[in-house]
């Protein structure tokens, strides 16, 4: 399947106080795929996502997201791409609908269309009965699902998910991954997923990239990485083995 490229970076570099957070990062994400973005803590994954969203300025190199440069056309990128940070924040004294309404208005969605959409999205993420509860009383899992509703309200072509499963119970994490898969399948949303949950990532990702110390050490389908690292013909492989191999080498 030949797909068009939706994200492309060329030698993307970010320095913080002369420390390199991201170093000469060049990778591609194809339209319609789930890209697993792996790496240890502090490898520069979040920084990369921020640069792709236009929230952080790269020190060198360039990126293209849906044909736009996030540095110059940040607003266009933000219109088509959604970003779900690791610790998604809400206004605790507002209820779920009010929180979503605010984001809808920031996206310039008309009021009557917004309320329709909010109903539909709350149903989709399974928060319909909590729609009028204050978000301050939400559990971690509920907040995570509300975060998804918030990201989906602008009908994104592309979503960046930064560790969406941290702090969720195993069952919740599993269902969240299923949900991400369904978003990709039913709504044709490209997903850039950063996660430590390798088993789940392996199940839903088309391709993965492994980032260590600010550098992309591997990029490709899981099979091709398995062939490369674990030897040809091996049928039983897990992403975890591949990851550990790269990690030990780095």
């Amino acid at each position: 399947m030949e797909a068009s490229t939706i994200i492309e970076t060329v030698n993307l570099t970010k320095l913080y106080n002369r420390q390199t957070a991201v170093k000469d990062l060049s990778f591609k994400v194809n339209e319609g795929e789930v890209f697993g973005f792996l790496g240890p803590n502090g490898a520069g994954k979040t920084t990369t996502l921020l640069m792709l969203m236009g929230l952080s300025h790269p020190s060198a190199g360039s990126a293209k997201v849906c044909g736009f440069d996030p540095l110059r056309s940040a607003r266009e990128v933000k219109r088509i791409a959604g970003y779900l940070p690791e610790n998604v924040g809400f206004y605790g004294d507002l209820d779920a609908v009010q929180n979503l309404n605010y984001v809808a208005r920031l996206n310039g969605i008309q009021t009557n269309r917004a309320s329709e959409k909010i109903d539909e999205l709350l149903d989709l993420v399974g928060l319909k009965q909590d729609a009028r509860k204050k978000v301050g009383a939400f559990s971690r899992g509920m907040k995570q699902r509300l975060g998804f509703a918030e990201v989906l309200i602008k009908d994104p072509k592309l979503i960046f998910l930064d560790e969406p499963t941290t702090g969720l119970d195993p069952d919740g994490a599993l269902r969240l991954m299923e949900f991400i898969k369904s978003l990709n399948r039913d709504r044709q949303i490209t997903v850039l997923l950063s996660s430590h949950n390798l088993y789940q990532v392996q199940k839903i990702s088309h391709r993965v990239g492994i980032m260590i110390h600010g550098e992309m050490v591997a990029e490709g389908t899981i099979e091709s990485l398995a062939k490369e690292k674990l030897g040809v013909g091996e049928k039983e492989y897990s992403l975890e083995e591949i990851y550990m191999k790269y990690f030990q080498e780095a």
């Binding site: 607003r75 940070p85 998604v88 924040g89 310039g108 918030e150 602008k154």
Partner: protein, 319 residues
């Protein structure tokens, strides 16, 4: 624009539904109400003396009924309104992780800070207009005096100066809430600056004036030194926005005042004489007298906001 309007509307809703605003508004409304009420009662008892006054309506605001006048009260505690409205405006969003969400929406980044500032200004405006109208109504009912056209103009200018004065403090606390990540730190910094500029600058002005141009009260006073001393004291104390504001508003509210402060030394009899025969200053002249003060206040507000704007635009927001 849509982003600015959305932020503005949200912030305005937040202000009017927050407990701290309601409590502060109740406090300020109550105190100004009482001070004007006292002034009104006082005026009613001394109707004789009032026959000479050209602008009795303005006395509701400027007369020190019990302890202080309404104008003095706003000069003192107005800053607190600005501080309370905005000391956590940016760093609360940062701490709760909503700031990154805001700026990852398709809006310009300055919509966030502009919306917050404008919502604060709108809140202050509504609050001050409400208080002035309530006091005016009280004056109509209690003393039975109707404001003339000039008095309405003077009140209007007073309102504008007050809005800028409180907006200055709003801008200061937004600046602190951008530069300090911790909410308690930014609140403390704003209050510390308020106390410093409102109470200590005038003290410091005395010290500076006395050290540069000492006036020996034991010996024969040297008029030149005394005037120099007063000039220096005035110059230093004008660094305080509170001094700027109170001089400006007291001159505009009281047409009998010809300068913001009298440098000319007069004996009690001379003062009595001159005040008996002097006419009030026309509105245009009053404005001319306080024009530098007004300009300084507006400039201070804008500079302060501009600094916070620049810092916010270049700041890296990660959480």
């Amino acid at each position: 624009m849509q982003g600015l309007y959305a932020v503005f509307k949200k912030e305005l809703c937040d202000h009017f539904s927050s407990y701290r605003f309601v409590i502060l508004f109740a406090l300020i409304a109550m105190v100004s109400f009482i001070s004007s009420y006292m002034a009104g009662i006082h005026m009613k008892e001394n109707l004789e003396a009032l026959a000479n006054t050209r602008f009795p309506f303005l006395m509701l605001f400027s007369a020190t009924g019990a302890l202080f006048s309404m104008v003095q009260f706003v000069a003192f505690f107005g800053p607190l309104i600005g501080v309370v409205l905005a000391f956590d405006s940016i760093n609360r969003e940062r701490a709760h992780g909503t700031l990154i969400k805001l700026i990852s929406q398709p809006i310009y980044r300055d919509a966030v800070i502009n919306g917050k500032f404008l919502a604060g200004v709108a809140t202050i405006t509504i609050m001050l207009i409400a208080i002035v109208l309530v006091i005016s109504g009280l004056g109509l009912a209690l003393v039975g005096i109707v404001p003339g056209l000039e008095e309405i103009w003077r009140l209007f200018i007073y309102l504008i100066i007050s809005i800028f004065y409180i907006s200055f403090w709003l801008a200061v606390s937004i600046l602190f809430s951008i530069s300090f990540k911790n909410i308690a730190t930014s609140a403390l910094a704003s209050i510390a600056l308020w106390i410093f500029l409102s109470f200590f600058v005038s003290l410091g002005a005395n010290v500076v004036a006395d050290s540069i141009a000492p006036v020996d009260r034991q010996k024969e006073p040297n008029p030149e030194m005394i005037i120099k001393n007063i000039r220096i004291r005035e110059m230093v104390s004008l660094c305080s926005p509170m001094v700027l504001y109170s001089e400006a508003t007291q001159t505009i509210i009281d047409p009998m005042r010809k300068t913001t402060r009298s440098v000319v030394l007069m004996g009690p009899m001379e003062e009595l004489l001159s005040s008996r025969f002097q006419n009030p200053l026309p509105l245009g002249q009053s404005i001319l007298v306080i024009f530098p003060h007004m300009t300084a206040l507006v400039a201070l507000t804008l500079i302060c906001f501009a600094i916070s704007y620049v810092i916010f635009m270049v700041q890296e927001i990660r959480t």
